[in-house]
Symmetry: C2
Subunit: 420 residues, 2 copies
């Protein structure tokens, strides 16, 4: 069977001449199997980092519009080089910039959002039997300026193009083999998941599993794009991300994810006055600090002082401290921080109809002697903030408790070959 396929290759998959030729060979093989092929490429290896360093050498705070003009060149170079390699393999390939590919974005430089995909030129290339290569991570704004979509934006480019041209599948090639039931470096018996739902993938992306960029999964869910995450170094099938209605069976728990990059901020002595929490949250938002979980202790009596705790990515902690300093001195707040926090999460679409999961998570962690500092839940996820050093043991205990490596939880696999 044949169809239309979007293939996305990350920076490590095109980092040197040999890898770039290997990507070209995979693209050609997909074409020779009878598919119409669009490939989205990232900048080669360290190119983006190099360009950022060049900018920082010139300006301490580079203009965002110009940063986009600068950074967008890396993906264009990858695409031009890959087109050369494909042409040498006897197929016709054309490279397109994000603008030429019709990726129209808003004007938020360095973090633009896609507004529209006018894929006429891609369709025309495919109709002329060409393989179309599109520079990832970029578009053209409604003001006709070059924009970029933020780090990892090439995933979103690929998904958006797949939606626009009605591709049968969007294949994301990375240096991992797919999505696992837990990080195999911590849980050697972790299982590669043949299928996960968008909702599960969103929770996993948000809670530490870095395979796919969160926004690309949202875009895929909203536009019904089937994603296949797979290794660029092997032909093994990876993990297909599909709508929940397509999953054959919903296991209670699909995966355990974790992060050891959390920090906790505790603000002591918060006046029990309306508006204070809002001022704290606003100060952090202005500083672009992402707050994850928040807990506020009720004051014991009216007019007493409360404590407020929240977690942030550890890399945001310095910014968070700076953002809170003026409020702290104004209101006499005491700020405490703990940099060595971690988080474990269990995720599963089947959790919705099984209320006992939380109890099992807490019991399992308790039996391991792990102290739970904060908890947050969604219909398909339970996350616990714990100390960073307790994370590996907690992940292993939860993975075992929910029997995630066992055959009992395996879903009916979809036949991967048929899509492409």
């Amino acid at each position: 069977m044949s169809g239309t396929v979007v293939m996305k290759f990350g920076g490590t998959s095109v980092a040197d001449a040999e890898r770039l030729r290997r990507a070209a060979t995979r693209i050609v093989a997909k074409r020779e199997a009878g598919n119409r092929v669009v490939a989205v490429l990232s900048a080669r290896g360290k190119t983006t980092d190099f360009l950022i360093a060049e900018a920082q050498e010139i300006s301490p705070n580079p203009d965002p519009r110009e940063m986009d003009m600068l950074l967008s060149t890396g993906e264009r170079q990858s695409c031009a080089l890959c087109a050369m390699a494909i042409n040498d393999l006897g197929h016709r390939a054309i490279s397109l910039t994000g603008s030429q590919a019709g990726i129209v974005t808003d004007t938020s430089h360095t973090k633009a959002r896609i507004l529209d995909v006018r894929a006429d030129r891609i369709r025309q290339g495919l109709d002329e039997d060409a393989i179309v290569l599109v520079a990832g991570f970029q578009g053209v704004s409604t003001a006709k300026d070059v924009t970029t979509l933020g780090r990892g934006g090439s995933d979103t480019t690929a998904v958006a193009l797949a939606a626009a041209i009605g591709a049968d599948i969007c294949e994301i090639y990375t240096d991992v083999a797919g999505v696992f039931s837990a990080d195999p470096r911590i849980v050697p018996e972790a299982r590669k998941l043949p299928v996960v739902s968008f909702e599960e993938m969103l929770e996993m992306s948000a809670s530490g599993a870095g395979v796919l960029q969160l926004r690309s999964v949202e875009y895929a869910r909203n536009h019904g794009v089937r994603i296949h995450c797979r290794s660029s170094f092997s032909d093994e099938p990876g993990t297909v991300v599909v709508g929940e209605e397509e999953t054959v069976e919903q296991p209670l728990i699909t995966a355990v994810t974790h992060s050891t990059e959390e920090a906790r901020v505790t603000i002591k002595g918060v006046p029990d006055t309306p508006g204070i929490a809002g001022r704290i949250a606003t100060a952090l938002a202005v500083a672009n600090v992402n707050i994850d979980m928040i807990i506020q202790n009720e004051p014991v009596s009216e007019g007493a002082l409360a404590d407020m705790s929240f977690t942030v990515p550890r890399s945001d902690l310095t910014d968070a401290r700076a953002a809170l300093a003026p409020l702290a001195s104004e209101l006499g707040l005491e700020i405490q921080t703990d940099e060595a926090m971690g988080k474990v999460s269990v995720i599963g679409a089947g959790m919705k109809s099984h209320p006992g999961v939380a109890a099992k998570v807490f019991t399992t962690l308790g039996a391991e002697g792990v102290n739970i500092e904060m908890i947050s839940t969604s219909p398909i996820k339970i996350s616990c903030v714990i100390s960073g050093e307790a994370v590996p043991g907690a992940v292993r205990a939860l993975h075992a408790a929910f029997a995630l490596s066992g055959e009992g939880t395996i879903r009916a696999e979809r036949p991967f070959g048929e899509f492409v």
Copy 2:
């Protein structure tokens, strides 16, 4: 006084952070003097060579369309970085790609010609008080593909933009101080020429003086764009290139130019049959070999064999030999080559009305003991092919014979300051 100025900076003028900041400072100074400023930048230092090496690592014969997509990124990076530097100096700058700047070309990838300049976006930027930076060397084809104008094409970009926006002057900043009456490395007393005519500059560009790209001078002449060649490392005025009608006085000889990069090809035993010379020239043209001078010895009797000699740039000699090999074996021709040839030329608009110049050139070279191998002339130029090792002495002798360093030949200088 103020006006509209196009400034062009070559790759060495933006090669590192310090030089790029210096270019930004010059651009800002021009703006602060009250001018509307458009600046055209080349790729930084060795960027283009690096990109070419990347392409050659991927493909022995890279697709020209993709080569253009690849190479055009270098100038975009320069412009983005320079815009950041200018913004830090408190002025607003925007960078534009060749496409955004409205440089429309034909579809001859890697050597495209400019068909039209739709400078609306540049005008809009200037009207909004911005400094507009344009990526040199590139445009967008009528097929909406990225094109490049060939090596040195940034000069042509600058001149074309100056014509399109009606700039008062197009300033070309390079690492030399201007156009000299001879190469100062050979003739230390050579004089910087304050003014030369387009016609003289064309002959000089074609005969070895590498200050300006030939095509940019043609474009400037055809569109009446005044060019000012000057040093990016000094505030001294350089050389202004203007229409002949603007030159106050026409000295007999303006400059002596030379080249030591010539090779001679002699074809012996050419049958005196119509069409043979045409086949030879066609074979060389197909191989993209530039023929300079041609001499054919008349055969002594009808049906006898003739000799044909021509000069080519030494770098084209291998291609020339390869192109002639099939003809040589078909027709039994003998090919001789001499790689160590040079050329000296005297150039001057006043020559037109003074027929004695050729005689003086030949006499001067004869007195130096220099053997003249081939001669070609135009109304304002006499070129002699001589042995490569005789070139420095010949240049010095001609420079002295025509008294080019003497005050007697100085023209009335134009007041440079007034233009900008």
